[in-house]
């Protein structure tokens, strides 16, 4: 069985782990000023929203450059967002997103 890419996995882990560990292990990161804490408190919604938006609203255009795209996946994610905001239940939101996407694709509309 091929194991050549395990080396790449180790290299990727080597550049990923410091970002996760340094702020937890270096004392300077534990005594941040209130303004910095306020900033970090806002990172979560900003990063997670940015990831979701770039996943479903950006696609590669015919010329190979990023292009704005609204498909059934974007509609499904919006449905999930609305349900989570309303019901505060992520599982329900995910289930609806998957069902909507699969259904629309099954009828050939997505």
């Amino acid at each position: 069985m091929n194991v050549g890419l395990v080396g790449l996995a180790l290299l990727m882990a080597a550049v990923t782990y410091p970002a996760r560990a340094i702020p937890l292990l270096v004392p300077a990161f534990e005594r941040l000023p209130p303004r910095a804490l306020e900033y970090l408190r806002l990172v979560g919604p900003a990063v997670l929203g940015a990831i979701a938006a770039s996943q479903v609203l950006l696609a590669t255009g015919a010329d190979g450059r990023p292009a704005f795209h609204v498909g059934i996946d974007a509609v499904a994610v919006l449905a999930c967002v609305a349900l989570v905001a309303w019901r505060r239940n992520l599982l329900v939101g995910l289930l609806v997103a998957v069902v909507v996407t699969a259904t629309v694709r099954a009828v050939g509309a997505g």
Binding site: P45, L58, V77, V84
Partner: protein, 243 residues
């Protein structure tokens, strides 16, 4: 937390299928999920390997994509500072988007760092389902139909968006989230989608800080305390997402 387990499992299966489609062996796919344990960069790597990119480019982009973990760890640092250094070193490896979001919501609801809650979220909620699902996906690549037909590819972005909504508990968080989305799209369209994610993540909170609090004299209900150990808020209602 069931939503996160479902997300990790669904997304893990999709990664296993993607890895297999790009020529990964079972050991290689599992090694990625155990050692790297960062979904976005794993997909990035699988796609780049399939497209014939060299390792240096993949490693550099992995560092770029995963730089956001620096901010996650810094946000959790004040909560976990009383834990032993060795435990924090282990906690770092399993710090993902989902573990961060679940833990922060959980800690803020309780008013203190619940180490068992962290391990439950990070290991039980993400690491185990992610790795088992990766194995299932790479082994069952021949039997499982196109994941897009089943709608599984929408699980990851939907989970990210849903978690963002769960963290958006005040005006500043909403502003940061909306700004993060807008900046990610603008930079993503003009530069690169991965750069857009980083720009949205770094600059979205700056926009959030510009939004005035409702009453500057009273801290917002969900403000992260400078000293988590001294903070308590027993009246906070459950948001349905915490472990």
């Amino acid at each position: 937390m069931l939503g996160i387990v479902a997300s990790a499992a669904g997304f893990g299966v999709v990664f296993g299928l993607t890895a297999r489609a790009n020529g990964f062996s079972v050991i290689e796919a599992v090694a990625f999920s155990v050692l790297v344990f960062a979904g976005a960069s794993q997909f990035l790597a699988a796609g780049m390997i399939g497209a014939g990119f060299g390792w240096p480019a993949i490693v550099v982009l992995t560092g770029l994509v995963n730089a956001r973990h620096l901010l996650y760890a810094a946000a959790l640092g004040p909560w976990l500072r009383d834990r032993p250094r060795r435990e924090r070193a282990l906690m770092a490896h399993v710090l993902t988007d989902e573990a961060f979001a679940l833990s922060l919501v959980h800690f803020r609801r309780l008013g203190f760092a619940d180490r068992r809650g962290y391990w439950l979220a990070a290991i039980g909620g993400v690491f185990i389902p992610w790795n088992l699902a990766t194995l299932a996906g790479v082994l069952g690549a021949q039997a499982i139909p196109d994941p897009r037909v089943l709608g599984l590819d929408v699980v990851f972005p939907a989970a990210m968006a849903g978690l963002a909504v769960g963290l958006a508990t005040g005006r500043r968080e909403v502003a940061a989230g909306v700004a993060g989305v807008g900046i990610a799209l603008i930079v993503g369209l003009t530069v690169d989608p991965r750069a857009g994610v980083l720009a949205g993540g770094f600059l979205g909170p700056v926009v959030g800080l510009l939004v005035p609090r409702r009453d500057p004299a009273v801290p917002e209900q969900d403000e992260l305390p400078a000293d988590p150990a001294s903070f308590s808020r027993p009246d906070r209602s459950d948001d349905g997402m915490a472990p």
